[in-house]
Amino acid sequence: MNANRSVQIAYAIGLVLLLIAPALIYPVLIMKVLCFALFACAFNLLLGYTGLLSFGHAVFLGSAAYITGHALKVWELPTLLGILVGTLGAAGLGWVIGSLAIRRQGIYFAMVTLALSQMVYFFFLQASFTGGEDGLQGVPRGTLFGLDLADDTNLYYLVVAIFVGAFWLIQRTIHSPFGQILKAIRENEPRAISLGYDVAKYKLLAFVLSAGLAGLAGATKTVVFKFATLTDAHWHTSGEVVLMTLLGGMGTVFGPVVGATVIVSLQNELADKVGSLVTVIMGVIFVVCVLAFRRGIVGESIALYKRMIGEKTE
C-alpha cells in the first residue's frame, strides 16, 4: 500500500510540475523533452516489459513525423487528425517490421530491426515527398477548437494532454492481463509457450503498440518543430532511445522519462560547447551504464530506497 501511495504522490507532483513548467522554462524545450520521453516510454514497453531489443525504433518516430507533416502540409488535414494518421501509419509499419523481426530472437531480433529500419531510411532518403536531405519543412501547426496552436503555450497544453494520455495508456497496458503475459514472455518464453500462450501474437501486438506510440511521439514532434527530417529516422536516434531507457532504468515506470529528460537537456546544453564531441559523451554514458549502472537512475534509486527502509532487494 505504501508503495502505491508514493507512486500516486509522484504522479500528482509530476502533473503539477508539467502544468506550471512553461512559466519557468522555454516551452518548446519541454515539449521536445515530452516527445522524447513518450518515445522512450513506448520503447520501454518493448524492451523493459517484453524483453525485445528493437534497434530500429527511430524509423517509427521518423515515419510518423513524415506522414503527419505530409498530411498537415499537403492534404491540409486538421492537426489532431494529422497526428492520428501519422500514428496509425507508424503502427502499420510496426506491424510489417514486427512480423518479420519476431521470427528471430535475442541478438538477431536487434539486428533485423536495425537492418529493416535502415531500409526504410534509404527509402525516405530517395522518396520525393520527404524532401530528401533538406527534410520536410514549413508544416503548419493549425488550430484546435478555435485555439491557434502557433502560440507555444496553447500547443504546450495539447502536448501535455497527449503525453499524459499516452503515458496512462502505457500504464494500463503494463498492469493489464496482457501486460502480465508480456512480462511472462520476458522472464521465460518457453514457459509462456507451454502455458498455451501464442507468444508470437503477443510479441507482435506489443511491437505494434510500441511502434504506434513511438509514432505518436514523432507526429507530435513534427507539429512542435514544424518540420520532419531524416535525423528522426536515422539509427543514431534509435541508439539514443536505447540510451535514454537504459540510463533512466529499463522496466521502470518513470525511468524512460528521467532518461529522456537527462539526455535531451544534456544535448541541449552541450551542443554549442563541445560540438561533435557530444557523440563521444553519449558513447561514454552508454559504456558506463552497461558496465556499472544497469538498473539506471530510477532502478538504482528504488534499490537504494529499499535498502534504506531495510527491505531485501532481489
Binding site: L53, F55, L100, A101, R103, R104, G106, I107, Y108, A110, M111, V112, L114, A115, L116, Q118, M119, F122, F123, L125, Q126, W235, G239, V242, L246, G275, S276, L277, V278, T279, V280, I281, M282, G283, V284, I285, F286, V287, C289, V290, L291, R294
Partner: protein
C-alpha cells in the same frame, strides 16, 4: 557493341567486379563478426568503427610517419587487433555472464566513442589515399579492363577468408577454438586457457575488420563515417547467412555483393536496399538463415 538486356557488356562486368569488391568486404567483416560471436556470444557493433580505424591508421601512417601501403597492411590490422585486446580485457570480459544484449549495447557505445572522436579530429570529409604503384593501372582481359587494385582486394580478401577457414576447421588450434565455443567449462577443465583464447579471438576478429579497412583505404574516401552504414549492411548479411558456418558467411558475403552489383546495373534505385529486401525474404522462408541452424 555487344550487350546484355540493353546493358553494354563491359559496363556489366565492371559492375560485377565492383559487386565482388563490396562482397569481399562483406565476407571479411561478417567472418570477423561470426568468429567473435562464436567465442564471446557478443555481436560486435564496434566492428564498423574498427574497420574505419584500420583505414584511418593506414592513412595516418602515411601522412605522419611516411609508412607505405605494404607495411600498413601488416601494422594497421595489428594495431586494431591490439586495441581490440585492450577493449576485451578492460570492458567486454565483465559482460560474459550477462544477457547477450549488453554486449551489443556496450559495443554500440564504443562505436559512438570511436566515431565521435575521429570525427572531432578530422571532420566528416574523407581523406584521399592513393593506390600503391604496384597495383595501379588495369589489366586488359579482352572483354573488359580490370583495375588491378580491385582484383587485389578480391584476391586478398578471399585468401584471408580461406586461411581463416583452414585454421579454424583443420588445425589443432582451430579444434581448441571450436571446443571452447561448444563448451568453455569443459575445455578449460582439459587445461586449455579459455580466457586467453577468448581474448585472442576478439583481437583476431577485429584485426580482420582492420585489414578490411586497409584494403578499403585506396578504394574509397577514408573518413570517420565510412564504417557505420557498412556495418548495418553486414548485419543483414549475417542474418541472411546465419553465423553457424564460416564458408557460409564467405559465400553469402560474396553472393550478396554480386547481387548488389547486378541491381546497380538493372535497377539502380534499389541498389542501397536490395540486401535488406533479400533479408526480409529469407526471414519469411528460412528464418534461421541460409547456412544457420535453428537453436
Amino acid at each position: 557493341m555487344t550487350d546484355f538486356f540493353g546493358v553494354p557488356l563491359p559496363a556489366l562486368f565492371g559492375q560485377l567486379v565492383l559487386g565482388l569488391v563490396n562482397g569481399s568486404f562483406y565476407a571479411v567483416l561478417s567472418l570477423g563478426l561470426a568468429v567473435i560471436f562464436g567465442m564471446l556470444n557478443i555481436i560486435n557493433f564496434a566492428h564498423g568503427a574498427l574497420y574505419m580505424m584500420g583505414a584511418l591508421f593506414t592513412w595516418m601512417f602515411m601522412e605522419y610517419l611516411g609508412i607505405g601501403y605494404w607495411w600498413s597492411l601488416v601494422l594497421a590490422p595489428l594495431s586494431v587487433g591490439i586495441i581490440g585486446i585492450a577493449i576485451e580485457r578492460l570492458l567486454l570480459q565483465w559482460l560474459y555472464k550477462l544477457d547477450h544484449l549488453y554486449g551489443l549495447l556496450l559495443t554500440f557505445g564504443l562505436a559512438l566513442i570511436l566515431e565521435g572522436f575521429f570525427r572531432h579530429l578530422y571532420g566528416v570529409a574523407g581523406q584521399p589515399y592513393s593506390i600503391p604503384d604496384e597495383l595501379s593501372g588495369a589489366i586488359n582481359l579482352g572483354f573488359m579492363f580490370l583495375p588491378k587494385y580491385r582484383a587485389w582486394i578480391i584476391f586478398a580478401s578471399l585468401a584471408v577468408c580461406l586461411v581463416t577457414w583452414y585454421v579454424i576447421e583443420k588445425t589443432r588450434l582451430g579444434a581448441y577454438l571450436r571446443a571452447a565455443t561448444e563448451n568453455p567449462a569443459l575445455t578449460q577443465a582439459f587445461g586449455i586457457n579459455v580466457p586467453l583464447m577468448v581474448m585472442l579471438t576478439y583481437g583476431f576478429g577485429v584485426g580482420l575488420a582492420g585489414l578490411a579497412g586497409v584494403l578499403a583505404a585506396p578504394a574509397t574516401q577514408v573518413g570517420p563515417l565510412m564504417g557505420s552504414n557498412l556495418i548495418i549492411t553486414v548485419f543483414a548479411v549475417v542474418v541472411i547467412g546465419g553465423m553457424g558456418s564460416i564458408l557460409g558467411s564467405i559465400l553469402t558475403g560474396l553472393g550478396l555483393g554480386l547481387i548488389e552489383g547486378l541491381t546497380k546495373v538493372f535497377y539502380p534505385e534499389a541498389s542501397a536496399t536490395v540486401v535488406f529486401i533479400i533479408m526480409a525474404i529469407v526471414l519469411m522462408f528460412r528464418p534461421a538463415g541460409l547456412f544457420g541452424r535453428e537453436k
